[in-house]
Symmetry: C2
Subunit: 549 residues, 2 copies
C-alpha cells in the first residue's frame, strides 16, 4: 500500500455551478487556489449529484446512498433514524468526523422518540446531525417570516456578529445579508436588485471567512488525532450579496451570455414548462437580473477561493497537505437564467453537474495529478472514497453504500468495469409546480439516467425527456417525444428499471454474510426435504441422536 492519508478535508460549496471556476474553464473568474488543488489532484468533469436540491443531495453525499434509498427526498424531510452516515463509517476507524457549516439535515425527532433516543445524548446529537459531531452547525439560512424562523437553531455566527458590534436579533440578515438602503432602511439581500451593493459587514466578518477560521480552529484543536472535517460553505448560495470588495469585483462585462434557446419554449415538456413559469425562472429570464446577480455570484466564489488560499496555506504550514485527502465539490448548481430557469431542481448540466476535485497526497496518486477524468461519478462515491483512502475495505459495506471508491481513478485511469449510468432524482412535491400540475406528493417525481452520451428523464405521469449531450451539448432539444429516438429511450428506461430494482434496503446483512449463510441452516439442524436419515451426512444427526436416550 502506498497510502498516506490520515485526514480528510471535505469542502462543499452550496449552489456552485460546475463551470464557475477557472480550472473548469470559466474565462472571467480566476480561482487560482482551487485551480492549484486541481493541479495537485484529479478534476472530474462528469460528476453528478443524486438530486439537484440541497437537502436530498447532501443526504446522499453523507450516506453514500441514492435519494430513493435514504428517503430524505427534499429539504426538511428528516433523514430517518438508522440511516448510516459518514461519521458512522469513519468513527470506528478512529477518525473524528466533524462539521463546520451546512448540512441541511432535519432530524427525525419522531423516530428518535419512538426508539427512546435522547436528542441531547452523544448518539442523539449525531443522529440529528448526519452523523457528524457538530463543531459548528450552521445551515446559513436564518430567514424569518410571518410564520417565524426557517431554521429553529440560532447560529453561533449571530452571537459572533453581536460580539463584533453588529446589533440586532438576527445580524445574519441585517448585517451579513443586507446592504444599507436609503436612510435607516435596509436593502435586504432577499431582493436581488440590491445584489451588487456591499453587505453591511466587514469582509472578515462575513460567513465565508468566519467558517474558514472555524475550520482552522478545529484543526488546531484536533492536534494529532485523525479527522474528517466537512467544511460546508453556504456560499455562493442566495441571498446573493457579498461584502466589499467582492460585491464589486466583477461587473456586467464579466457575465457570460445566457444559454437558452427560443426553441425550448415551443411546446416544452409539461414539467419543464411549469418550472419555466416559476417566479424565480421568470425573474432570471430578465437580463437586468442576470447582470446584477451573476457578478456577485462570481464575487462570492472568488471569496471562497481566497479563503481556501488561506486555509491551504495554513495546512501547508502545519504539514497537513502531506497527509490529508482534500475534496472540493458542491451540492448542486444554479441555472442563473440558463434554459429560462432559475435555481436548480431540473437536470440540465448547470443544475445537476458539480465541480469535483479530489487531491490525494499518496504516492499512488502521483500519476493522476493535474489530470481531468471524464468517468461518470456520483456524489455517493465520496463515502467509499474516504473509506478507501483511509485504508478501510469499503466493499464490505456495499450492502449499504451504493457508490464506489474513486481512489482507483486518482492514479489517472478508469477501471474497465466502471459504472455506465448516473442517476439523479427530484421530488418536487413541495413546490407550487406540483400543485399546478395536479400531482399528488407521492407522484411528483423525476428520475434522470445519464450515460456518456444520453440524458433520459423519467417524469412520473408524463412522457419522458431525452437529450443528446454529444450532438446538442447545450441541451436545447428535448427528444423525449421524437419517434426517431424510441430505441435510446427504451434503452435508458431499461437502465432505470434495473436501477430501481437494486437491493437497497437489505442493509443489515452484508454480501459476505449472505454468502456465508448459504447452507448454514442445515449445520444448525434444519434438515429440509430429508426422507431417510442416510440422505444427509451422519454428522448432521449427531445432536438428535443424543436426545434419543
Amino acid at each position: 500500500m502506498t497510502r498516506s492519508v490520515k485526514n480528510v478535508l471535505f469542502i462543499m460549496c452550496d449552489q456552485l455551478r460546475w463551470d464557475y471556476l477557472s480550472c473548469y474553464g470559466h474565462p472571467r473568474l480566476a480561482t487560482p487556489n482551487i485551480d492549484a488543488l486541481a493541479a495537485r489532484g484529479v478534476r472530474f468533469t462528469r460528476a453528478y449529484v443524486q438530486s439537484p436540491v440541497c437537502g436530498p443531495s447532501r443526504m446522499s453525499f453523507y450516506t453514500g446512498r441514492y435519494v430513493a434509498s435514504h428517503g430524505a427526498t427534499w429539504n426538511g424531510v428528516p433523514l430517518k433514524v438508522g440511516e448510516m452516515t459518514l461519521g458512522d463509517y469513519l468513527r470506528p476507524l478512529g477518525v473524528k468526523t466533524v462539521l463546520v457549516g451546512k448540512t441541511h439535515m432535519r432530524a427525525d425527532t419522531e423516530g428518535m422518540q419512538r426508539l427512546g433516543i435522547d436528542p441531547n445524548s452523544i448518539i442523539g446529537v449525531r443522529v440529528s446531525e448526519c452523523g457528524f459531531d457538530p463543531y459548528e452547525r450552521d445551515d446559513g439560512l436564518h430567514a424569518i417570516g410571518p410564520d417565524g424562523r426557517y431554521d429553529p437553531q440560532v447560529p453561533r455566527y449571530n452571537r459572533y456578529l453581536n460580539d463584533q458590534g453588529y446589533q440586532g436579533d438576527n445580524p445574519w440578515h441585517s448585517w451579513a445579508n443586507a446592504a444599507q438602503g436609503d436612510g435607516n432602511a435596509l436593502a435586504s439581500g432577499w431582493a436581488m436588485r440590491h445584489a451588487r451593493k456591499p453587505a453591511r459587514v466587514k469582509e472578515e466578518d462575513s460567513e465565508t471567512p468566519y467558517m474558514t477560521r472555524r475550520a482552522m480552529d478545529f484543526i488546531v484543536e484536533a492536534g494529532d488525532s485523525p479527522w474528517c472535517l466537512h467544511l460546508s460553505y453556504i456560499k455562493p448560495h442566495w441571498p446573493y450579496i457579498a461584502p466589499a470588495p467582492y460585491n464589486a469585483m466583477y461587473g456586467p462585462n464579466d457575465v457570460l451570455p445566457v444559454v437558452r434557446s427560443e426553441a425550448e419554449r415551443l411546446n416544452p415538456h409539461p414539467v419543464y414548462r411549469e418550472f419555466m413559469a416559476h417566479q424565480v425562472s421568470r425573474t432570471f429570464a430578465r437580463e437586468e437580473v442576470r447582470t446584477e446577480v451573476i457578478p456577485v455570484y462570481m464575487g462570492l466564489i472568488k471569496q471562497i477561493d481566497d479563503q481556501l488560499g488561506v486555509l491551504f496555506g495554513f495546512m501547508e504550514q502545519q504539514g497537513l497537505m502531506a497527509n490529508t485527502l482534500v475534496v472540493f465539490t458542491s451540492d448542486h448548481g444554479d441555472y442563473l437564467g440558463d434554459h429560462w430557469l432559475g435555481e436548480k431542481d431540473l437536470f440540465h448540466e448547470p443544475s445537476v453537474k458539480v465541480p469535483l476535485i479530489v487531491c490525494d497526497p499518496s504516492p499512488a496518486a502521483d500519476a493522476g495529478r493535474g489530470s481531468a477524468c471524464d468517468a461518470l461519478v456520483e456524489a455517493i462515491d465520496l463515502v467509499p472514497t474516504f473509506l478507501d483512502a483511509l485504508g478501510s475495505d469499503w466493499r464490505r459495506q456495499s450492502h449499504r453504500l451504493e457508490g464506489r471508491s474513486l481512489v482507483p481513478l486518482l492514479g489517472g485511469g478508469v477501471p474497465a468495469q466502471w459504472r455506465r449510468y448516473a442517476v439523479s432524482e427530484d421530488d418536487y412535491s413541495r413546490l407550487p409546480v406540483a400543485a399546478r400540475l395536479g400531482m399528488e406528493p407521492r407522484d411528483a417525481r423525476l428520475f434522470m439516467v445519464a450515460d456518456r452520451r444520453w440524458k433520459y428523464i423519467h417524469a412520473m405521469g408524463f412522457r419522458p425527456m431525452l437529450y443528446d449531450l454529444e450532438a446538442d451539448p447545450s441541451e436545447f432539444r428535448d427528444l423525449g417525444a421524437d419517434p426517431a429516438y424510441a430505441a435510446e429511450r427504451d434503452h435508458l428506461a431499461a437502465a432505470l428499471g434495473q436501477w430501481s430494482l437494486r437491493q437497497s434496503q437489505r442493509t443489515t446483512c452484508s454480501e459476505e454474510e449472505m454468502l456465508a449463510a448459504r447452507g448454514e441452516a442445515r449445520r444448525h439442524g434444519i434438515l429440509v426435504g430429508v426422507w431417510n436419515e442416510s440422505d444427509v451426512p451422519e454428522e448432521l444427526w449427531s445432536r438428535y441422536r443424543e436426545d434419543g436416550k
Copy 2:
C-alpha cells in the same frame, strides 16, 4: 360509524396452503371451525403474500410494507431498527399488541448497538420482536446441528415439556417432533419417512394446543384492555409429525393427485430448473413421500382447526366474538410435490397464495358475511385493516404503509379503484440454487407481478416467466419465452417498473405534511427569485424591516 371492534385476533398458520381447508374446497379435509369463521366473515380467494418465505413474508405482514421496502429479504436477515411494526401503529391507540408463537424475526443487534438501544429495555425488546410484546415468542424451530442451535432462544415450551415429565435438553425435538424408533432409538421428525408415526407427546402437550392455551391465558390476563393478539402457530410447517390421533387421521386415500406436468420439465426456466433439482423437490417428486407426508400435513391442519374450535368457544363464552376482529391466514404455502417442487420460494399458487379469512363483528360487515371475495389482496393489507377496524385513519400513515384497508371489502363489495397488481418477491441468495446459478447475493432475486389473469415473474439475469391463470389455471405452461405473449410481458414489466419506483422510503413525512409544506419556506422568510420588494406581499418582509433600524 358502525364499528364494533375493540380487539384483534390475528391468527397465522405456517406453511398452510390456501387450498387445504374445506371452505377453500379441499374435498377430504374438513375444517368446520375455520369454515364457521368464513361463514361469519369474508373469505379472500386471491390473497398473496409478499414473499413465499417465512421471514420476509412475516416482516411484510407486520410492517405493512413490501419486502424491498423493509429489507428483511430472507429468514435470518434482521429487520432494521426504525422500521415501524404493528405494535408501533396500534399501541398509540391504547391497544396492547402481543405475540404468542412465531415471527421468525431476527433483531438488528448491530443497529441497536449503534443507536444505543438496550436490547433488554422495553423499547429494545419490542424492536427485537417486530414491535410485539412477547407474551410467548416461539419460532417453533429448535433445531440443533453440528454448529449448534438454529434459534438461540430456548423456548418456554421446552421447560413446559420437562415439567410434564418429558426429559432431555431439547424435548421440542425428542418428544414433540420425534416418534419412537426401534429400541431406544428416536425416529426424528426431520426424516420424513417417520411422518405418520405418532409424536412422542400426548396431544394436549403438542405445540398447537399449548400455544392455544397460551393465547387464552393472555386473553384472560388482558381483562378489559383492548388487545391485538398475534397467535402464530408453527404448524403445519415441517418437521411433519403429529401426535395421536392426528398422525393417523388421514391416509394415502385422502391425498389429492399431484399437480404437475411432464411439460414442465421440458426446457424449463433456468431458475425453475434449479429449484426442481433441489433436494426437497426431488424428495417430494416421489409418490411414497407424498403419501406419507401429506396425510400428516392434513392432520396438523385438522388439529389447528380443532384448537380454533376450543379458542372460538372460549371467546364466545367471554363475549369476545362480538367485539373482536378475527383474521385467519398463513405466511405462505407448501408445494408438497406439485410442479415437481417441495417447500415454497417460487410463485405458483400453492406457494404464494394463502387462505385469508377476515371476520368483522361490526354491523357494517353484515352484508358480506359468508361471501368470497376475489379482489387482489396482499399481506401488507392487514396493518391498514387493523387500524381501520379500530377506528384509526390508516391513510395518514400511507407514507409508510404500502397496503390498503380491507374493511371496505368486508361489506361484500370491492371499491372501484382497487389495486390492479399484486407483487411478491424472493431473495434466493442464501439457497444453494443461487450458487449453482452463479448468482451474486445482490442479484439472486425474483419479482412476481400478478393481475387478475396473468402472472409475470421477473428473474434478474434471466428471461422472465409468464403464466395465464385463466387459460392454464394449473400453471403448467410458462409463456415467458413465447413471442406471442410479448405484449402481455411488456405490460406487466411496465407495472413492475412503476411499482419499483414507488415512494417507499420517505417514511418520515406524511403526504399531508408534504402538502402542508408547499409554500411553507416563504412564510418562514425564504424569498427566492425576488427582484424587488414589491414582487411579494409586504407581509413577508415584516420581520426583515424590524431588523433594519
